[in-house]
Amino acid sequence: MSVIFILWLREVKKYVRSRVQIVASLGGPLMYLGVLGFGLAPVFQRAGEGSYLQFMAPGVIGMTVLLTAMFSGIAMLWDRQFGFLKETLVAPVPRLAIMIGRTLGGATVAVLQGTLIFVVTLLAGFRPVSLVAVPLAFLVIALIAVIFSALATAIGSSLKEMQGFQMVMNFLVMPIFFLSGAIYPLEGLPRVLAGLTRIDPLTYGVDGVRGLLTGRTHFGVALDVAVLVGVGVLFVVAGAWRFSKIEA
């Protein structure tokens, strides 16, 4: 337990200390919120879908959590060769404890970053329909964070070269974001795209957060949560398995 706690604490301490990184990683989501949020608003309004800001704010929160969580896992690749990870790999503690500590730490950081962008969306004019639902929405955000931290751990444990990072960003992280329905409604999509959005875990995450914060949902919050929990268990097991196979 103390091992999990100290490794979790390490991730959180590092996050709080890296102010530059906090501000820098807000850049991407802010761009989407500012440019797309306001740029597409008139079209969205004219199509009879209501406020686009209201629609995409949960998507931008989801994006922030996705990027932060994935990044913490990719950083592991560097950490393994030039950092602290090797120190933990030779310690007389089970690999599983290390993996859980790191993954929970990465997930916590992602939730903190998501909270920050949530505040930004409030400043930009986003209004949740009920305050009671906000803590529930954060439970869904926490699920998204755990899923992608675990996925990042699995990938970080399997990759050998830094070049792989670019691959992961272009062929995994960006598609996960663009296919998630974060920036467009899931209704009336072409069949292929609709199929792809359904196999993207982030789709259910964004839909769940959106359902709780704005009342608009495609699958229903219950189904969203069920899928997220299922995928979460799967990814945590996969992450733990890959992590146990690291030969430094």
């Binding site: 100290i6 301490k13 060769q81 950092g83 602290f84 030779v90 310690a91 007389p92 503690v93």
Partner: protein, 280 residues
Amino acid sequence: MRGRTPFRPWCSSVVSDRPIIRVQHIVRSFGAVTAVNDVSFDVRAGEIFAFLGPNGAGKTTTIKMLTTLLRPTSGSLELDGLDPTTHQTEVRKRFGVVFQDPSLDGELTAWENMDIHGVLYHVPRHARRVRCEALLRMFELWERRKDLVKTFSGGMKRRLEIARGLLHTPKVLFLDEPTLGLDPQSRNQMWTHVRSLRASEGVTVFLTTHYMDEADRVADRIAVIDHGRLVATGSSPELKAQTGTDSLEAAFLALTGTTIRDESATAADQMRQVARVWRR
């Protein structure tokens, strides 16, 4: 390779005849490449043992096998009577290690790096405090304990890694190229520290280096490895006598030849290059 060491009660009291590390006929292959090929040696408790060899000779691979990070393809290993492949956790409690590449967390302070290590090795809270302070003082880092490690010089980082590796009072300390990239002053200071460790901690030191002068200065015994094979073992005077040379450098060249080793770059080498650029 000598067999069982004879009982010699007149030997110095610090170095015992009991082997703390026994390596017998280990082989490790990566695909078609055999990095370590039928290597056998003993390290006695309390001695400073140097593993000397050119780049790519198999030094780091051997350390990784002894420190439970790699499994040998065949052969047997023993550390303090335990097999690292089957008694992983027990063996890990018994050694400290400083890897070739840094393994400190630069975003944390020196104290935090030490403290986390203590938690990972289940050192009780009070003992952890006392020991952290003693080691940080010994390695002249106490004044800087609250500073982030990323602000430390290369020599200070290495000292901190050694201090950390000793926190859980290990029986063996592995040092993989501990002076690589350090200036002569830091190297000198490093070896002074390492030699005084045996007196103060009674720890066995297993180090790798390709600097002959360093092995000559600090090691009780030296094993020369080349192309994954052990080519000679003995004290510095023994190696010189064996090769009929007057310096360890000449003995080393006589044993390993003068051709320059061109290793193919691994993923880790590529990352090291990137790291060098980023550090500027």
